[in-house]
Amino acid sequence: MITNKPNSEAVSRFATQLQEAPAEVEGRSLWQDARRRFMHNKAAMISLITLSVIILLCLFGSQLGDFTYDDIDWNAMQIAPDTASGHFFGTDSLGRDLFVRTLVGGQISLMVGVLGALVAIVIGTLYGAMAGFIGGRTDSFMMRTLEILNSFPFMFFVILLVTFFGRNIMLIFIAIGAVSWLDMARIVRGQTLSLKSKEFIEAAHVCGVSTWAIITRHIVPNVLGIVVVYATLLVPSMILFESFLSYLGLGVQEPMTSWGALLNEGSKTMEVAPWQLLFPAGFLVTTLFCFNFVGDGLRDALDPKDR
């Protein structure tokens, strides 16, 4: 099993540590351990590096082009990629440089994806774990609340956000945060229900560990695997969800853009101007695959049963 190598390494390192600092033995925390294991996962590390490159490109890469994201090149509308004109990725229907727009669009999409997933992880996990662990009336109440949130007409919520608060980038995150954690909470609750009856939880209970401590110290680490997997699934939906918000007037406003918006535009002209779809899609797909592998790496590294 894969646990062998890390184990032997841990033993040898522990040995050296003992020699070097015999006075104080420092136990390895969960996090140190996880980091070390993560570093050994090749797919995850390559993905992490690719992801960093993409993030850096999105933040600073727009300076590489000759154009800004809102420059209209009146004489080069919808042209295919070519190096002579300086439009490496071609232009969109208004003659704006797609290279720069793809990179700039990445900023907003990455932020939305990551933040949405984070909200889901934090709120969803805690909510689900609490409902599942406490059980009884509290569980019923929390789950019925979730059912209401799950089925009410979300579009009106967004429309109201726009009308009452105008346009504000923060609203995107509120809207995305509002929906992203619902399914996560259900999944975590389901897992918690089956963990609750496990011996180690019962043991903790008997020892008088507080409910909150059981949830955060015992339940949460044990559901983290499924949480991470589901979070990587959330990132793409959040990125695409953002483009739906802009339909209602809440997302990013032109001439600013996002991958979701670019993909949406590109999908309409895929037959006649494929570059308008392929370049943003390429970036999105690469990023998502990277998130996926990093997610898997994290899952493996964080799994408490795998030590």
């Binding site: 007409p153 579009m155 009308t163 619902l182 793409p236 799994d303 795998d306």
Partner: protein, 306 residues
């Protein structure tokens, strides 16, 4: 068991009431009314229309009026499609969405679980990477790209299948929408299944079973599959409702007369009764399937108590 179902039924009533109340208030707070159109109507004509649909009444009267209708199973008239009642429209569209959804759901569950199990058993091999990459494409390629792509290939260029329409539910018309819809869920199910399967395979009882020398296939089928399905089921509960109540993207692209289009267009048109009607439907389905999911938990893991 019976007690559990009864308890859920009792709980469903206040849940639905709160849902209707919240939706009702939100809808009426949104700018624009069902009758604001491109042309602003003279006030006296607007008054005539509002009187006809009871919108001239105070909000609480409208609310109780709606509840009264709901109790008799009447979802009211559509404010947008004036020749139909919401009952008629939902009655016409829900079967379409449900049929496509069911097929998509079946496809997704079968393929998703299969992919997930295979990938988990061959963890970190090329089989794992291959299967998971294939599954991932369904998540990373959004349906608004995948669906027109399918249409372009199979309808416009190859001309094997129709590009859209429902035609009373002929299989030829369903194939592409089902595929486009299932793609997303296949990936999600496969990812979740793989994750939980890996965890289960590392757990003590599986190790014990292995140590006993039981055959691998038997272990997976008899011991691993059931508990590994747990997170998939908690994902599928709410997802199932989403699937059978239609996807507006798929329905718009393939021109299907489903409920997803009705719901989104209803929101955009401020068709209050239509949106409320579908919200109630979705709410009831959500409550129902969550209850079913909870029953299934208990079946899969007998140790779970409520």
């Amino acid at each position: 068991m019976l007690k559990f179902v009864f308890k859920r039924l009792i709980e469903a009533i206040p849940t639905l009431l709160v849902l209707i109340l919240v939706s009702f208030v939100l809808m009426h707070a949104a700018p624009g009314s069902p009758f604001t159109g491109e042309r602003s109507l003279p006030p006296e004509i607007l008054a005539n229309i509002e009187a006809k649909y009871g919108l001239d009444q105070p909000l609480y009267v409208q609310f109780f009026h709606y509840l009264g209708g709901l109790l008799q199973g009447d979802l009211g008239p559509s404010f947008k499609y004036k020749d139909f009642s919401v009952n008629e429209l939902v009655g016409q569209s829900f079967p379409v969405s449900a049929e496509i959804g069911l097929w998509a759901f079946l496809t997704a569950v079968v393929l998703g679980v299969l992919f997930g199990v295979v990938a988990a058993l061959k963890q970190n091999t090329w089989v794992d990477y291959g299967v998971m990459s294939l599954a991932m494409t369904g998540v990373v390629i959004p349906s608004f790209v995948l669906a027109p792509l399918l249409v372009l290939i199979f309808a416009v260029h190859l001309r094997w299948l129709p590009a859209g329409g429902w035609n009373g539910g002929e299989w030829m018309y369903m194939l592409l929408p089902v595929l486009a819809m299932a793609a997303h869920y296949i990936s999600s199910i496969a990812r979740i299944m793989r994750g939980s399967m890996i965890e289960i395979m590392h757990s003590n009882f599986i190790r014990t079973a292995r140590a006993k020398g039981l055959p691998a296939g038997y272990i997976i089928w008899r011991h691993a599959l059931k508990p590994a399905l747990l997170p998939v089921i908690s994902y599928l509960g709410p997802a199932f409702v989403g699937i059978i109540t239609g996807s507006v993207v798929i329905e718009t692209i393939f021109g299907l007369p489903g409920i997803g289009q009705l719901f989104v267009n209803g929101s955009l048109n401020r068709d209050y009764s239509m949106v409320l009607g579908i919200t109630v439907l979705i709410g009831a389905l959500t409550i129902m399937f969550n209850a079913i999911v909870d029953i299934m938990y208990a079946y899969i893991d007998p140790k779970i108590r409520y």
